[in-house]
C-alpha cells in the first residue's frame, strides 16, 4: 500500500495512515542519528533533558500538568535503534476532537506543547541547565545499571554485546556508565543542536485527520525547525553480515539466580530490504514464534525443559535470536533440542498442520497490527527504512503463498554466531546446592 509522503520540512517527511475507528490521534516523530560509539549516551539523555522543562513549561511538572489538562495527552520520548540507525523517537497521542466534551482541537495543542519541548528547552548560559543534566545523568546511569533486574533482557543484551563487539550494531543504545558520567551540559547541547540541524525526520500519523490537515497542523513546528536545519543530513546505513564470520562463540557467565538463561544469536542471511523477508518471518513463526511452534512444543511441552522459549528476528541487520529460561544442568539437552528443531525445518520435516498453523498465526499477528495506531506506525516506519511499504494485509497475502521449501531454504541460510549462557548458581540443580532462597520465599 502506498501512502502519500508529504515533505513537511527540510529532510522531513510525513506519512499519514488513515484510520477512522480510533478515539485518538497518534503521531510519531523520529530523528535518525549516526551510530557513533561514545555518543549514544548523549542521544539517550537528549529526550530526558527535553522533558525536564522548556521556556513555557519550566519544569517536568509543568509539562505534566499541561498534558493532563489536555485530557491526558501524552508525549513519550525514548531512544532506540533500527538496524544500525540510532533514533530518538517522540510519540504524541491525544483524544481526537469528536471524543472531547468541548470539541477542542487537542492535536494542535499537543503539537504546540511538543514544539515547545523540542525547540525551546530550559537553558542557562546558553546550554542545558546543569542541575537538570546532572539529575538526568544519574537517572540514565540508574537505568543502565538496572538491566540486571530483568534477567531475560540482561542475557539478551549481553548476547548483543558479545555477538556485535566488532560491529556498529553492538553500540549500546544508552551508551555506557562511563560515557553517561562524562557528559557535560555544553557537549550535550551541541549534540542536541546537531540533531536539530542534521538528523532526518520521519513522521507517521495515524487517525481520522486528512494528510493535508495534519501537515497544516505541523506547519508551525517545522517552519521553526527549518530555520535551524542545514545539510548535510545524516544517512546512516546498516551493514548486513549474511553469514557468521567465525566458529560459534560460546560465552558462559555465572549469576546468582535460580534460573539460567540460554540465548543464541544467528545470522539469517535475510533482511527486509530483500523484498521476500516474509519467507523468513514464516520460518521464524514455525520455529519459535508462537505457542504452536516447534521450539515451544518440543523444548517446553515434550521435554519440560523451560517455561518460556521463543525465537524472534531483527529484519534490518539480519539476526535471529532464541531465548529460553532453563535449569543450569539442562544446557546440553536444550541446546541440542534447539539445534534439532532448526535442522528439522532445514530438512523439510514440517507437517501440513504445523505449516498451516504457522501461516495462520503469523497472518493473525499481522492483522492485529492493523488495530493499533502505534503498531501500525511502527510497521511502516520499519519497512520504509528498508525501502518497502507493503501493508500488514498485503504481507499476510504473501505469507500464504510460501512453500515448505521456502522456509527450509531460510533454515539452511541460518548460521549460528554466538551463544550466551547465563548460568544461575542458585538453582539447586548444579553441584548439589541447597535451594535456601526458595524455602525462604515460600514462608
Amino acid at each position: 500500500m502506498t501512502f502519500k509522503a508529504i515533505v513537511c520540512g527540510k529532510a522531513a517527511v510525513l506519512y499519514t495512515i488513515p484510520k477512522d475507528n480510533l478515539k485518538t490521534d497518534y503521531l510519531s516523530v523520529v530523528f535518525t542519528l549516526p551510530p557513533i560509539r561514545g555518543k549514544t549516551a548523549e542521544y539517550a539523555l537528549i529526550p530526558a533533558l527535553l522533558a525536564c522543562g522548556s521556556e513555557k513549561y519550566p519544569t517536568h511538572g509543568d509539562f505534566s500538568r499541561q498534558l493532563d489538562t489536555l485530557y491526558n495527552a501524552g508525549i513519550g520520548c525514548r531512544t532506540g535503534k533500527s538496524g544500525e540507525r540510532y533514533q530518538i523517537v517522540f510519540q504524541l497521542r491525544c483524544l481526537e476532537t469528536q471524543c472531547v466534551p468541548g470539541g477542542e482541537d487537542l492535536f494542535s495543542e499537543t503539537v504546540a506543547v511538543f514544539a515547545d519541548m523540542l525547540l525551546h528547552p530550559a537553558l542557562e548560559n546558553g546550554v542545558f541547565r546543569t542541575t537538570y543534566v546532572e539529575r538526568e545523568k544519574k537517572n540514565l546511569c540508574d537505568a543502565i545499571r538496572s538491566d540486571i533486574n530483568n534477567k531475560a533482557g540482561y542475557a539478551l543484551k549481553r548476547l548483543d554485546c558479545e555477538m556485535f563487539r566488532e560491529e556498529t550494531y553492538g553500540i549500546p543504545v544508552r551508551g555506557t556508565l562511563e560515557e553517561a558520567s562524562a557528559i557535560t551540559p555544553a557537549a550535550l547541547y551541541d549534540t542536541y543542536r546537531d540533531m536539530l540541524a542534521h538528523a532526518p525526520v520521519t513522521c507517521h500519523y495515524v487517525g481520522k485527520l486528512s494528510a493535508e490537515s495534519v501537515a497544516e497542523k505541523l506547519r508551525p513546528l517545522f517552519a521553526e525547525l527549518d530555520a535551524l536545519r542545514c545539510a548535510p543530513y545524516y544517512a546512516p546505513e546498516t551493514e548486513v553480515v549474511r553469514q557468521a564470520q567465525h566458529p560459534v562463540r560460546v560465552i558462559r557467565e555465572e549469576q546468582p539466580t535460580r534460573q539460567s538463561r540460554l540465548c543464541i544469536g544467528y545470522r539469517t542471511g535475510a533482511v527486509l530490504a530483500d523484498g521476500d523477508y516474509y519467507k523468513f518471518a514464516l520460518f521464524n513463526e514455525l520455529l519459535g514464534g508462537s505457542a504452536s511452534s516447534k521450539l515451544f512444543l518440543d523444548v517446553r511441552e515434550a521435554r519440560g525443559l523451560c517455561y518460556d522459549i521463543s525465537s524472534f528476528p531483527e529484519g534490518q541487520k539480519g539476526i535471529l535470536y532464541i531465548s529460553c529460561g532453563i535449569s543450569a544442568d539442562a544446557y546440553d539437552e536444550a541446546k541440542a533440542a534447539i539445534d534439532a528443531q532448526i535442522a528439522a525445518i532445514r530438512d523439510g520435516d514440517i507437517s501440513d498442520a504445523e505449516f498451516s498453523a504457522a501461516k495462520k498465526s503469523l497472518c493473525a499477528g499481522y492483522r492485529e497490527i492493523e488495530d493499533g495506531a502505534s503498531s501500525l506506525a511502527a510497521w511502516y516506519a520499519n519497512r520504509r527504512q528498508a525501502g518497502i511499504d507493503t501493508s500488514p494485509a498485503e504481507t499476510a497475502a504473501q505469507v500464504m503463498t510460501c512453500t515448505k521449501e521456502d522456509v527450509a531454504a531460510c533454515a539452511a541460510r541460518l548460521t549460528e554466531d554466538t551463544v550466551f549462557f547465563m548460568c544461575g548458581t542458585q538453582s539447586g540443580d548444579a553441584d548439589g546446592e541447597e535451594d535456601t532462597e526458595a524455602d525462604e520465599y515460600g514462608d
Binding site: 475507528n21 480510533l22 478515539k23 519544569t59 517536568h60 511538572g61 505534566s64 500538568r65 493532563d68 489538562t69 485530557y71 491526558n72 483524544l95 471524543c99 466534551p101 539529575r135 544519574k138 540508574d142 537505568a143 545499571r145 538496572s146 538491566d147 540486571i148 533486574n149 534477567k151 531475560a152 546468582p256 539466580t257 535460580r258 534460573q259 505457542a291 504452536s292 517446553r300 511441552e301 519440560g304 525443559l305 523451560c306 517455561y307 518460556d308 529460561g325 532453563i326 535449569s327 498451516s356 498453523a357 495462520k360 498465526s361 497472518c363 493473525a364 499477528g365 492483522r367 492485529e368 488495530d371 493499533g372 538453582s427 535451594d435 532462597e437 526458595a438 524455602d439 520465599y441 515460600g442
Partner: protein, 431 residues
Amino acid sequence: MNTEIETLYHDGIRESYTRIRHKSGMTVCVMPKETAVTYASLGVLCGAVDNCFTVNGERMTVPDGTAHFLEHKLFAAGEDEADAIARFAELGANADAYTTPDMTAYLFSAAENERAALEILLDFVFRPYFTEENVERERAIIAQEIRMYDDAPSQRGYYNAVESLYHTHPIRVNVGGTEESIRDITPDVLYTFYRAFYHPVNMVLTVAGNLSPDDVLAVCDACIPHDLPPFVTERMFEKEPDTVFRREYSDTAQMSSPVLYFGVKDTELSSDWTARETHAAAVDILNDILFCKSSPLYTDLYDRGLINGKFGFEYELAATYAYVLITAETDEPETVAKEIRQHLSERVRLHDITDEQFERCRRVMYASAVTAFESAEDMMSECLDAAIDGGEMFSALDIMMAVTKDDLFRVLDRLYTPERYAVSILYPERI
C-alpha cells in the same frame, strides 16, 4: 432459568454492548466492534487466594498454586485428540490464559474463524483431562516459571509488601505457589478444585470484535453444559485483623538500586459491588492527585533527585482485601518513605485539593475511560474485570464521574493514617 438479554448504552462515550444472563447461569457480554481481530475471554471467579473453600458446607484445602496449575493443565487433551492450543492454532487463533489472586481467565484472539474458536474455548474449559503423567510433566514447566519469577526483584518486592500488610489473608500467597507446594498437586487435587469452581454460574464470558450477540448466544447454547449440579462452593477466608502485619521490613535481591514499597492497608471492604466501586473510584482519583507525575509530591521528590522516574502507585480492591502500593526506585528509600508520610500527613491536615487539581484529574480519568474503549482487547478486558467482580463497566464509569471533592476528603482522612502504613524495602545484594 431462562436466558435474558439486555443492551447497555453509555451516552457519554457513545458505546454499547449486549449483556446476556445465559440460562446456564453464565454472564456473557458481547461488544461488536469493527476490528481486524476478535478477542474473547472466559473468566472464572477463582484464583490464587482460593486455597481454602467449602463445597456444600464441607471444608477443603488445596496446595498453594493450585489455581495456576489448573490453568496450565486445562489446555491438555486425551491421547487421541489435539490439545486446545493446537486446536486454536489450526483455526489461526492464538490462545492464552492467566491467573490472578482472584480470577483465572482463558483467552483467544482470532482474525478469522471466530465462531469456531469460541466453540473451542467453551469446549476445552468444560472438558478437563488430568493424568499422573501430564501433571508430572507440567510440574517441571511450572517450576521453571516459579524460578523465573523468583529471579525478578519486582516480584520479591511485591510479595514482601503484601506480606507486610496482611497477617493471614492468602493474598500473601504467590500465584504460582512454590516448587515445594506444587509437589503436592495431583490429578485428584486438580479435579477437586475444578469441580468446586468451574461452573457457569461462577464464570463470565466477554467477546469483543466481529461476533454478534446472536452468534455468541448460539455457541453458548450449544457448548455450555446444561446438566451440571448446582453451584455450592463458597470461598473461605480467615478473619484478617485491621492492623498491618509488620510496619517495617527489608530484604535483598540481585538488583541495581533499592526499591521502596510503601503499602497502605485499606479496611473499607464491602461485599456489595456498587459500594466497593464507589469507594475505589474515590481512592483512584485521590491517588492520582496525590501521586501522579504532576503532583507536588512527585515533582518535589524528582526535583530533589530522591526518585528517578521509576515511581508508581496502584490500588487493588477486592471483596476481602484492599491496599494502596506506592513503589519508588531510590538510593534513599528511608528518606523517601519519610517524605511520603509527611506529605500525606500534611494533605490530611490541610485538605488542600484545589478545584483545578480535581478538574484536571477528572479529565485524565475521562480520557482513560474513553481510550479504554478504543481497542477491542482493552474493552474485553475492562468488561471482564467489572463483570467477574459482580459489576458492570458503564456503571463503573458513571460512578467514577460522580465522585466529588468531599468523597476524596473522606477517603483521605480514613485511609491515610500512619497505623495503616507498612514500609518494605528491597536492597541490592552485595555481590
